[in-house]
């Protein structure tokens, strides 16, 4: 029996999630190649294919109409589409400009109206095509990605966490950032990372996005009351990797 085929595609992104594929080490990566055939991966391969694909990983946000046809073509060819990393899942950091109406002028000045600088608001790729599974994170958790692939190869439904990062901090007995006089977004941030940042004394920035139905008014209230944020900074805080969710709330 031939192995399932896997392909990687990239849109507006830093391509760091693709780089994570090279960080497994020799044994795990070569073992992965025993189970799947990587047939297209522009950042690492010259080979391309027009054949159907079993699993398509899409990195990057949808930011311009010019990319719509390419996304639709990937969807037509792929049995399973996985949004790979936060840019593809929700728009990620790219959406941080979505609320600004002068972002082109701010970067390109007088050249801002040139047609190739076309860039609308940034969205996850599910703005255009149906996505079957989401590998959240900026960058992705490479071990969660292996789990997703493993589940799919075994015909199981991947389990994607939908509980807040606070749960993971409690589990590893990390002192709450608020108790250290700091701030944090862990109470609305999607877990699945093992909460390394608060454990290292750094606030969670919700780089895996929000849990479903986050209580954002409560986030703002806590940032003001317990972290001493100005109301304006508290309102802006949730924009970092989650601007589209903030706008939708």
């Amino acid at each position: 029996m031939s192995k399932p085929t896997v392909a990687f595609f990239d849109f507006a992104s830093c391509e760091g999630c693709q780089i994570e594929m090279t960080n497994y080490g020799a044994e795990p990566f070569l073992e992965l190649l025993n189970h799947v055939d990587i047939v297209e991966f522009r950042e690492a391969m010259t080979e391309k294919t027009a054949d159907p694909i079993d699993i398509a990983f899409i990195e990057g946000s949808f930011t311009r109409e010019a990319d719509r046809a390419r996304l639709e073509e990937i969807r037509r060819r792929a049995r399973i589409v996985i949004a790979y990393g936060q840019c593809a899942c929700t728009g990620g950091i790219n959406a941080l400009k979505n609320h600004q109406d002068d972002y082109k002028q701010a970067v390109y000045g007088a050249d801002a109206s040139m047609p190739h600088l076309d860039s609308q608001k940034a969205y996850g790729v599910d703005h255009v095509i149906k996505v079957d599974y989401y590998a959240y994170g900026c960058p992705v958790n490479k071990y969660e990605v292996l789990q997703i692939v493993s589940h799919l190869l075994h015909g199981k439904e991947p389990v994607i966490p939908n509980h807040p990062v606070c749960v993971e901090c409690k589990r590893r007995e990390t002192v709450c950032r608020f108790d250290e006089g700091d701030h944090c977004m862990g109470m609305v941030a999607r877990a699945g990372c093992s909460a390394p940042c608060p454990a290292a004394g750094i606030p969670c920035e919700a780089c895996r996005g929000f849990v479903d139905d986050p209580n954002l008014p409560a986030l703002e209230k806590v940032l003001v009351e317990r972290a001493g944020f100005t109301p304006q900074r508290a309102a802006e805080k949730g924009r970092m990797f989650t601007a589209n969710a903030l706008e939708a709330s």
């Binding site: 990239d10 849109f11 507006a12 992104s13 830093c14 391509e15 760091g16 999630c17 693709q18 780089i19 994570e20 090279t22 960080n23 497994y24 080490g25 020799a26 990566f29 070569l30 190649l33 990587i38 991966f41 522009r42 950042e43 690492a44 391969m45 010259t46 080979e47 990057g60 930011t63 311009r64 990319d67 990620g92 950091i93 790219n94 941080l96 400009k97 600004q100 002068d102 972002y103 082109k104 701010a106 970067v107 390109y108 050249d111 040139m114 190739h116 600088l117 860039s119 900026c138 960058p139 390394p196 940042c197 290292a200 004394g201 750094i202 920035e205 780089c207 900074r233 802006e236 970092m240």
Partner: protein
């Protein structure tokens, strides 16, 4: 003499980001010869406006997944400069150790995964799993080592977490550092095998010389990666230094009539940044072991063959490994402890520079009294190399036509040339050329 050529490489493979090569030659006349960059623009300098200083490096790290450590370090340094934050010697040494990890990490990726397939006559590293299994396993082993090395200091390598304005939020234990030292020392045989592999593939590196200006950070203390002054080296060996604060007088961004690309130039028509530029500027500051690697691979300053950038990267991997062994000893002698973060003492604007794998990187930010970012400017190495790549094309294409090279040979040579620069196109934060033929 080749008289008709149509090369249209759409989205060149095995580079970070999206770039095109277009060459049209009809009846011996070159109608078009362009390196084009159609990457989707991402507007980072707009995103940072209104964000708190603690968030800015988190945001601009996301410019690039390969040089995320370098963007983070540059953004944090520029922020510290703007806010009058002085970090400790321990923080500086740990950041230098992290910088070494990133350079080695990125160079291993580039030399083994992106370039070696060309030299081995393969379309990618995957066919080499069958034909050169030892080499592929070694590449993945070294890549993993660099990932663990950088993650120990930075929390992770793709968008590091621990590097924050004022120092580091978390530091490794002495035990962690001793283990890292053992791992690096244990990698020396892999490093030596890397030099042998590159030496064996070196005859496939094209011979092509185009003298240009080489710009890199430089320092009297060390082979400047984390910090230094800007230095220019001309092909005749003339050197000049400039303060980092004056970076705009060196980069001189400009638009050309036939293109919307922002180019850079200093003393000549174009300049090069990257490993070869650093090697040409700072050869004397390499550790002895790295100089031995350079000698074994036949690399001597001033080298004017841009394809040799990959060889210079391998020399730098050796430098980073051996210099890190020394740095770890210094850290262990002093004993590493968690320090409180240094705090802001003023507000205003600050520019800083770091050598990232692909060359000299500049970030500048302005903050108000509340620590909120008012503006940002990032000038990245690939934008600085863009003009130099184009000038290489302008010399190389007529040479190849004159030598009667076939269209396929020319396409491969131009693709390999672009790959040698290891372009990092997602970093593109300024206007870029996107004219298309056909």
């Amino acid at each position: 003499m080749t008289s008709t050529v149509h090369i249209d490489v759409h989205h060149l493979t095995r580079v970070e980001g999206h770039g095109n090569i277009v060459v049209n030659v009809t009846d011996g006349a070159i109608e078009k010869c362009e390196w084009q960059v159609p990457e989707a623009p991402r507007f980072f300098e707009s995103m940072v406006r209104g964000r708190h200083y603690s968030e800015v490096a988190r945001i601009t790290s996301r410019i690039c997944g390969i040089c995320a450590v370098g963007h983070t370090l540059t953004a944090v340094k520029a922020t510290e400069n703007a806010l009058g934050i002085e970090i400790s010697e321990q923080s500086r040494k740990l950041r230098e150790l992290l910088k070494h990890a990133e350079n080695a990490d990125s160079h291993i990726l580039h030399a083994y995964i992106l370039v070696a397939p060309d030299l081995a006559g393969a379309p990618s590293v995957f066919p080499l799993v069958e034909t050169m299994p030892d080499v592929v396993a070694r590449a993945l082993r070294l890549k993993r080592l660099c990932h663990e090395w950088g993650s120990l200091i930075g929390g992770r390598t793709t968008h590091p977490t621990t590097v924050v304005p004022g120092g580091l939020a978390e530091v490794p234990t002495d035990k962690d550092l001793r283990e890292l030292k053992q791992k690096l020392a244990a990698a020396v045989p892999d490093l030596e095998a890397t030099v042998e592999t590159v030496a064996a593939l070196a005859p496939s590196i094209p011979a092509f010389d185009r003298p240009t200006e080489y710009i890199a950070l430089s320092s009297d203390q060390n082979y400047a990666l984390y910090d230094g002054e800007i230095q220019s080296t001309l092909p005749d060996g003339t050197k000049q230094r400039y303060p980092v604060a004056d970076y705009k007088t060196v980069t001189n961004e400009f638009l050309v009539p036939q293109s919307t690309a922002k180019y850079t130039r200093n003393k000549l028509d174009a300049y090069a940044a990257g490993a070869l530029a650093r090697f040409n500027n700072n050869y004397d500051m390499l550790v002895p072991e790295a100089k031995q690697v350079a000698e074994a691979l036949g690399l001597r300053p001033i080298c004017t063959n841009p394809y040799m950038n990959t060889v210079a990267q391998v020399v730098e991997v050796a430098h980073s490994v051996y210099d890190s062994l020394r740095l770890i000893d210094e850290l262990l002698d002093a004993g590493v402890r968690l320090e409180p973060l240094a705090q802001p003492t003023k507000h205003g604007s600050g520019a800083q520079s770091v050598e990232v794998p692909r060359g000299i990187l500049f970030h500048e930010y302005e903050y108000d009294a509340d620590g909120i970012c008012q503006s940002g400017n990032c000038i990245i190495p690939t934008n600085q190399n863009h003009n130099n790549i184009q000038h290489d094309f302008d010399v190389l294409v007529p040479q190849m036509l004159g030598a009667g090279k076939s269209e396929d040979e020319m396409e491969l040579a131009l693709s390999m040339l672009v790959r040698a620069y290891d372009p990092c196109i997602s970093c593109s934060t300024h206007a870029l050329d996107v004219k298309f033929v056909r």
